[in-house]
Each structure stands twice: as C-alpha cells, then as structure tokens.
C-alpha cells in the first residue's frame, strides 16, 4: 500500500515538473518531424533545411492574429529569400480553410500540415501564431509567441540570421 502511495506521489510530481518545463530554450535542438505539405503534394521536414536559417511560423486559419501578421511574413520571405527560409506549420485546422487562407493572403512559402497539433506540442508552442528562428545547425536561435506587426518586427526577430541579436520587444 505504502509503495503504491509513494509511486502515485512520484508520478504526480513528475507530471508537475514536466508541465512546468516551459518552451524550448535558445540553443536547444528543434524537434523535427516529417509532415505532409499543404497543399498535399508530398512531405518534408525542417531537417531538409539543415545548413540554412529557417523562420518557422506556426499558424491556423481560424486565428485572427495569424491573418494580421501574414502580409509581413510574406514580405519578409520575398525580401530575404535565399538568406532565411520561411516555413509555415498549419496546425489544428481544417485543410480547406487553410488552403483558402493561403490563397487569400497569397502566401507562397512552403507549408506543412500538422493536423493533430502533435508537432506544435513537440515544439512546445503555447498557441498561434508563434515563430521560431532555427540556425543552420537546427538549434533554436529565437522564439516569439505572438503576431508580428510589420516587416520590421519580423526582421528584428530574425536579426541573428543577419549577425545580430534578436530584439525583445517586437513590433512595438
């Protein structure tokens, strides 16, 4: 009986510790997963982008702030293509809604579909939108939980890719 109680308490404590783990830390390797593309034409993983700077943006079509930041991300991708690869992770969303969103905002950068939200959980995303800057070795360089207000905000966030430090108060 005592063993069972101790085991239960240990299990609960472990759960609390795991829960309070927080997000990924700068310098930690970013989890990889091979997921289907959006539109469904195959699959890819961020590992395919090893050796490049990657801005990973987690979004969903039902998220209004995701709509607000879309033009800035698209602008950033066009301006810095070849230096920073922008990748979208569509999470917990309806595929038709997501496709409609991409057409409406004329988003051309590659997208993967995380239908179940498992990959967003692996990335320890706290919501949408959320962005991660990944260095060429696949490690986290910067993390921003929230929408970018404009191009300057995205550039500030991606500053490490251009030899700078990420700026804390983005888009403000």
């Amino acid at each position: 009986m005592a063993v069972a109680v101790v085991a239960l308490l240990g299990f609960l404590t472990w759960g609390l510790v795991k829960k309070g783990d927080g997000g990924l830390k700068v310098g930690q390797p970013v989890p990889v997963a091979t997921l289907p593309t959006l539109p469904p034409e195959g699959e890819f993983s961020i590992e395919d982008y090893r050796g490049q700077w990657v801005l990973l943006n987690i979004w969903a079509s039902w998220c209004k702030p995701c709509r607000a930041e879309s033009p800035a991300l698209e602008e950033f991708e066009e301006k810095h293509r070849g230096k920073v690869a922008v990748l979208g992770v569509n999470t917990r969303d309806l595929s038709d809604d997501a496709m409609k969103f991409l057409r409406e905002y004329e988003i051309g950068y590659p997208q993967i579909r995380d239908a179940s939200g498992d990959y967003a959980d692996d990335l320890k995303a706290t919501g949408v939108p959320e962005s991660l800057l990944i260095d060429p070795e696949g490690k986290l360089a910067a993390h921003y939980p929230g929408p970018f207000r404009d191009l300057a905000g995205v550039e500030d966030f991606a500053a490490p890719a251009f030899g700078g430090e990420p700026i804390e108060r983005l888009g403000s």
């Binding site: 969903a60 039902w62 917990r92 969303d93 309806l94 595929s95 239908a115 179940s116 939200g117």
Partner: protein, 166 residues
C-alpha cells in the same frame, strides 16, 4: 348463400388485408433498419473534441470549435452518417479528435485494461476471502467438543463426581 368448400367464414378479404399490412410493416421496418440514421450536431458534439481546447466540442466556443461545427453541419447537410462524419474529422485533425478511443487496434486496450484490472481485482478479492475463511476455520482453536474426553455424558459425570468424592 352457399359457401365454397375450404373458404373461411366471415369477410373473405380480411385475412388478406392483415397479411398485406404485416408485409408492409415488415418492409418498412427493414427499410428503417437499412437506412443510415440521420445524425445531428449535438449528437456529434458530445463525441468529439475541440482541437485546441482539450474539452468536448459541445463545451467550447473557441473560433476553432466554431469552424469545426460549420464543417460538421456541412457534412450533415450532405447526408453523411455519424460514423462518416467522425471519420472525416479524424482525417482532418487526427485520432485525438475523438472523445472516446476507437474500439480497434491499440485503442482496444483502453477498454481491455480496465476490464482486465477489474477481473484481476475480483479474483484477488475472492482468493483473499477464501483464504481468510480457511484460516479462520482451521486456526481459530478447537471446535466445540474437540477437547471432550472419550465417552458420553454419563461417563464424564461419573468422573466429575469421583473427583469430588470425599
């Protein structure tokens, strides 16, 4: 009026009418069984999860949940059955969208493990009770009459009287 041999008395069409009604009723019942039951939004809302809230869809009014409702309504309007709609939701959001695990594959363990646990617990209780009763029966001391010396009551009385015979 002469009746034909073998014909039933009373109204000659009544039996046929009853038989026809029975056939019609059986036919209707069969059709009802064969046709897929039309489902409703509340019925499905209680069996699927909101993809972002971690609660039943029926309890959520998050934007993602509202989109999920629209999706379900569209499928209902298309005449899809509950199972077809749930399959479509799984295709969109993955298996976690179902509130209850499916009764197949590895999910079967979600139902088997509690059943096995209950079975083992029942066996444990029965075994413990049987053991306890055996111990009680065998180790609680002598049964009444176990310490009686040989002989009947008369012999014992004689022996006792002899002890007090001064």
């Amino acid at each position: 009026m002469r009746r034909r041999p073998g014909s039933t008395p009373g109204r000659p069409g009544a039996g046929r009418l009853v038989a026809l009604l029975l056939v019609a009723l059986i036919g209707l019942g069969g059709t009802a069984l064969a046709a897929p039951a039309q489902t409703s939004l509340p019925e499905i809302e209680d069996e699927v999860m909101c993809p972002i809230c971690g609660t039943l869809l029926s309890l959520s009014h998050a934007p993602a949940a509202e989109r999920q409702r629209v999706f379900i309504r569209e499928l209902i309007d298309q005449g899809k059955t509950k199972e077809e709609i749930k399959d479509a939701l799984v295709a969109e959001y993955g298996g976690q969208v179902l509130a209850m695990p499916e009764n197949r594959g590895i999910d079967t363990w979600a139902y088997l493990v509690p059943a096995i646990g209950l079975g083992l617990a029942a066996v444990g209780v029965v075994w413990t009770v049987v053991r306890w009763r055996r111990r009680r029966d065998g180790g609680e001391g002598p049964e009444p009459g176990d310490d009686e010396e040989p002989g009947g009551d008369d012999d014992r009385l004689d022996r006792d009287m002899a002890r007090f015979d001064l």
